[in-house]
């Protein structure tokens, strides 16, 4: 299929970051002095003293407050909106509706299907239709209540089946056809042939419920359109750059006349990685009123803004040989996208593309369909699009292991794809510490003593996964770097790093500081980080797809190392030694051959270099190499480096109440190199906590129509009703950092922010099977579900059978018998099929 010019991914002769002699994995001096230490964060003290400035902490003179009016119907035409009473209300300064912001936008350029305020039609309960700016939030709310809207209610599509069965109830007019948002079918190798050669084929159907990010800070922005026609927008966002671009389009302002500043953000997890109504509305109202305008979402609005985990219905057929090697995997997936596209194109690809490691898959096929429904739009939530398939597959792997009588950790080892390898869908794997992850959780959890050995109700389960460290695919096609850093050195002995990077709590501001300190020998307190201000900082694409450490880290390393070179050269000249003999660490510059006599402070070294080379400054940037398979969608999921994770979960289940108590999760994660182990552990623990929460208790679900109300109301849009774990609910979490030292990451580092979430859910599901003999194939694993599965019968028998089988295998292995191999039964006369590329997708890698 011919790809239109606008869609072409960057060419082969792309920008290449510099190559450093000796590579970029090791320290600039003989050993690290900052990297790898348990450092504090640069903004930590501000956060613990209440001085960090979040968007709602910003108050500008003469600031107005605005609120959004939202649809009470899940699907309706807007016949009329009467705002006259609102406009006339004392204290009201501006009222806007859809016609004031008619331009469509959307994070993915091919699917721009949203308006800041709906003009003709509303597509979910909560869809915004009007905005009022007033002296106070109270007056704004009064004015909203006075706005008269006439709707023509349409039938509401409430789920995947309805979306497919009723294409005539068209939710989103920009859909491909009916209610199809996106369909991706790709096959690599010959799946049916491989399944045919299997000794066991297991079929499983899974339901992964939707969940939302629920950051503790709601969305908030302050817009200030000043007298010169410059718009400044402070917003709690992960993507200042993309927001900047869409603001220009929707508001009809030149990009040069807009400044987006990201203040400290109180959590995001993917829920703030695209533009939202409040940002456009606050900006427009500021342009109309000539005064700053703030919008703060209520907690209820945050649930409706959503952009969280897509509910997925997953159907897998997976095959294995008796010796434990995987054969073919076939996946059929339906994805509930809600009312708009958001990142849906990427979600649909990720639902298949990201499954192909850490295990070798001789043949793999996926057929994923995302549909539109009349519910809040789904988007990227930590582990975007790959958490659900990973859950299903790791449960399938557990079933396959049981079917051939192999330990689940063994079967994962057996199929390990290796480092420096290529997946069946042409993803390039470089560093890969997965076996070490398995070893670590096996040892730490005392797996061999516990698996299939504990009393009824107690069990352990294992799962593995992989994730991207950013990808090749930049959201809008262009050939410019994906991350940029500018570095300024000052005679006072201080460095300032300017970078568009978005710190959402994961610690990327600090990563920039650690790298500068390491390269230039500074103390942490002598580095300033200026981030995510589109007037001041070079473009970084933002905090999503776990790209920050890898991409801005590399850009920063290059910028810092360039200046280090100038400084080392100046000192070498002064001291009569070679630049390679210069060490910069802990505020001191010295010559390693003669440190007592040849040394000075780093501050003096900066001054020396400035007098030799002029004012000191440098630029660093990062662009991914050309990666991905030569087929449509081949770059989506193609990453310069992948992280790997393994979890073991231990559970204690109460058969009378159905309560699953997850006692502990051991989390082993290959992050390449932990630039700061405290931060990496924090990501591992936070990810495991979030996966646990989805497994046990989170549900973003909506009410069916009743006589009292229509369909589409959120079941419980509050932090009381939407269950997220408290300090008393959260299991014990143990982090085990594995370092495979990636060749292309900054000092060998890879991601840690999303990968460690994936295995939690299947590890818990597999542990429940070990404990009770029931397979939890649907989320969440709450008491009604567990009790229902127990009541269905056969649990105890399955449990005993599994135990007996493992005991037999263990004693068989102990007595020296070889593990079973070869075919069970014959398939008379059938020729052995060879794997071949399918016409549909699998081109050469």
């Amino acid at each position: 299929m011919k790809i239109p010019t606008g869609r072409q991914m960057p060419r082969a002769d792309r920008l290449k970051p510099p190559e450093w002699p000796g590579g970029r994995s090791g320290p600039p001096n003989r050993e690290f002095s900052v990297i790898g230490r348990r450092n504090r964060k640069v903004e930590g003290l501000a956060k613990v003293t209440g001085r960090a400035i979040y968007a709602d902490d910003i108050a500008l003179p003469r600031m107005l407050h605005a609120k959004l009016k939202r649809s009470i119907h899940a699907h309706a035409l807007i016949l009329s909106i009467d705002v006259r009473e609102a406009l006339a209300m004392p204290g009201v300064h501006g009222v806007i509706t859809g016609k004031d912001l008619p331009e469509y936008y959307g994070i993915i350029p091919w699917t721009q299907d949203e308006q800041a305020l709906c003009e003709h039609k509303v597509r979910y309960v909560g869809d915004a239709i009007a905005a009022v700016a007033a002296e106070s939030e109270l007056i704004a709310e009064e004015a909203l209540n006075s706005i008269r809207v006439e709707y023509e209610v349409l039938p509401a599509v409430t789920g995947i089946d309805e979306a497919l069965e009723h294409p005539e109830w068209r939710v989103n007019e920009k859909s491909v056809e009916g209610n199809i948002s996106k369909r991706v079918e790709l096959e690599f190798g010959d799946v049916e042939a491989e399944l045919g050669r299997s000794d066991v084929v297991v079929e499983g159907r899974y339901w992964y419920e939707g969940s939302t990010h629920a950051p503790i800070e709601p969305h908030c922005c302050v817009a200030d359109y000043d007298a010169t026609g410059l718009l400044t927008l402070y917003s709690s966002t992960q993507v200042a750059h993309y927001l900047h671009r869409d603001l220009a389009r929707v508001l009809g302002l030149p990009t040069q006349r807009i400044r987006v500043i990201q203040p400290v953000v109180g959590g995001a997890f993917g829920g703030k990685s695209e533009p939202f109504s409040l940002e456009f509305c606050a900006s427009k109202l500021s342009m109309i009123t000539g005064r700053p305008v703030k919008i703060l979402y209520t907690r209820e609005e945050v649930f409706y803004a959503h952009r969280g985990r897509h509910p997925m219905r997953l159907h897998y057929r997976t095959g294995i040989r008796a010796d434990g090697t995987l054969t073919g995997i076939d996946a059929r997936i339906h994805i509930d996208g809600g009312a708009y596209s958001s990142f849906g194109l990427v979600t649909t690809y990720y639902s298949g593309q990201l499954l192909t490691a850490p295990y070798t898959m001789p043949a793999y096929r996926f057929d994923s369909t995302r549909v539109f429904t009349n519910k809040p739009c789904c988007g990227p939530k930590r582990g975007h699009g790959s958490v659900q398939p990973r859950f299903a597959f790791e449960c399938q792997l557990d079933r396959l292991a049981e079917a051939i009588g192999m330990d689940p950790i063994e079967v994962r080892r057996k199929n390990f794809i290796g480092e420096k390898s290529t997946t069946v869908n042409c993803l390039r794997i470089t560093s890969n510490g997965f076996p070490e992850c398995l070893d670590a959780v096996e040892r730490a959890s005392e797996w061999r003593r516990k698996f299939r050995r504990m009393p009824y109700g107690h069990g352990v389960g294992v799962a593995g996964s992989m994730y991207i460290s950013g990808t090749n695919y930049c959201i809008y096609p262009n050939e410019m770097p994906q991350a940029g850093v500018q570095l300024k050195l000052d005679r006072s002995g201080r460095a300032t790093v300017f970078c568009g990077a978005s710190d959402i709590g994961q610690g990327v501001d600090s990563v920039l500081a650690y790298i500068v300190c390491e390269e230039l020998g500074l103390e942490l307190r002598d580095v300033r980080v200026v981030a995510a201000d589109t007037d001041l900082t070079p473009v970084d694409l933002g905090s999503y797809s776990s790209r920050e450490t890898f991409m801005v880290g590399n850009a920063c390393l290059d910028a810092a190392r360039k200046l280090r070179g100038l400084i080392a050269e100046s000192l070498a000249e002064r001291w009569g030694c070679r630049p390679g003999e210069v060490t910069l660490a802990a505020g001191v510059a010295c010559c390693t051959r003669d440190p007592k006599r040849k040394s000075m402070s780093v501050r003096e070294a900066f001054q020396l270099a400035e007098s030799r080379h002029g004012t000191l400054g440098s630029v660093g940037w990062y662009q991914t190499p050309q990666l991905g398979g030569d087929y449509r969608g081949g770059t989506i999921g193609a990453s310069p480096a992948y992280s790997f994770t393994a979890h073991v979960a231990e559970v204690e289940c109460d058969v009378e109440t159905g309560v699953v108590n997850v006692k502990k999760i051991w989390v082993a994660h290959d992050c390449g190199r932990a630039l700061n182990p405290v931060s990496v552990e924090g990501q591992m623990e936070g990810s495991a906590y979030m996966g646990y929460a989805e497994a046990l208790m989170e549900e973003q679900v909506f009410k069916a129509a009743t006589r009292a109300h229509g369909a589409g109301l959120h079941h419980g849009p509050s932090l009381l009703d939407y269950r997220i774990p408290t300090s008393m609910d959260t299991p014990e979490l143990e982090s085990l950092i594995i370092e495979s030292i990636d060749p292309e990451g900054p000092y060998g580092a890879k991601e840690a922010g999303e990968g460690p979430l994936h295995p939690s859910i299947p590890a818990i599901a597999n542990a429940i099977y070990d404990a009770l003999g029931i397979r939890c194939d649907s989320l969440p694993f709450h008491p009604p579900r567990v009790l229902g599965l127990l009541a269905a019968g056969g649990a105890r028998e399955a449990w005993e059978r599994a135990r007996a089988q493992m005991a037999a295998r263990r004693s068989g292995l102990a007595s020296g018998a070889s593990p079973p191999h070869g075919r069970r039964g014959t398939r008379g006369g059938r020729a052995r099929a060879t794997a071949r590329a399918s016409r549909r997708g699998g081109a050469g890698c």
Partner: protein
């Protein structure tokens, strides 16, 4: 609509006498954040579910977003801005920073106030006691592990001081 008329509210916050002109339905959180310039306490839900607004009043943690400001006249209110002494952070603040217990930091002020109030009452809490006392403060980032470690270390610091 509720009245827009304001009256003077006299509060004692962090040991200082503070006054603001507010409506009778203004919450303590709103008074602190929007009238008194003390933006350390956060609004996460505005209905008492998340604990980000936690301050300490007469020694006990309270949810300031569902407490009326006028109901706090004559009481001693301590916010996160009041924990540091002579420009030096309280051990609970220092240990939370050092341990990595503040990622995005939004729940942090509320967590600090609950933890501080606990340590004032119970200088040697067990981990179970810490978990229970913090169960009204939702954190979405950390999984609580490093928060517990920080409180335990701070308790040891305070014990050493005595």
């Amino acid at each position: 609509m509720e009245t827009q008329e304001t009256a003077v509210c006299r509060l004692s916050v962090n040991g200082e006498r503070r006054e603001c002109a507010i409506t009778p339905y203004t919450t303590l959180l709103e008074a602190l954040r929007y009238s008194l310039g003390l933006t350390g306490s956060k609004q996460g839900c505005d209905k008492g579910d998340c604990g980000a607004c936690t301050v300490v009043m007469d020694g006990l943690p309270v949810l300031s977003c569902i407490t009326l400001a006028f109901a706090c006249e004559g009481r001693e209110v301590i916010t996160v801005e009041g924990l540091a002494r002579d420009g030096r952070p309280h051990p609970i603040q220092d240990r939370l920073d050092e341990s990595g217990g503040a990622q995005c930091g939004f729940c942090t002020p509320g967590i600090l106030m609950s933890a501080w109030a606990l340590l004032e009452r119970n200088p040697r809490p067990s981990r179970e006691e810490i978990a229970r006392e913090l169960s009204g403060n939702l954190c979405r980032c950390t999984g609580y592990t490093k928060i517990f470690e920080a409180v335990e270390r701070a308790a040891a610091d305070l014990a050493e001081r005595r």
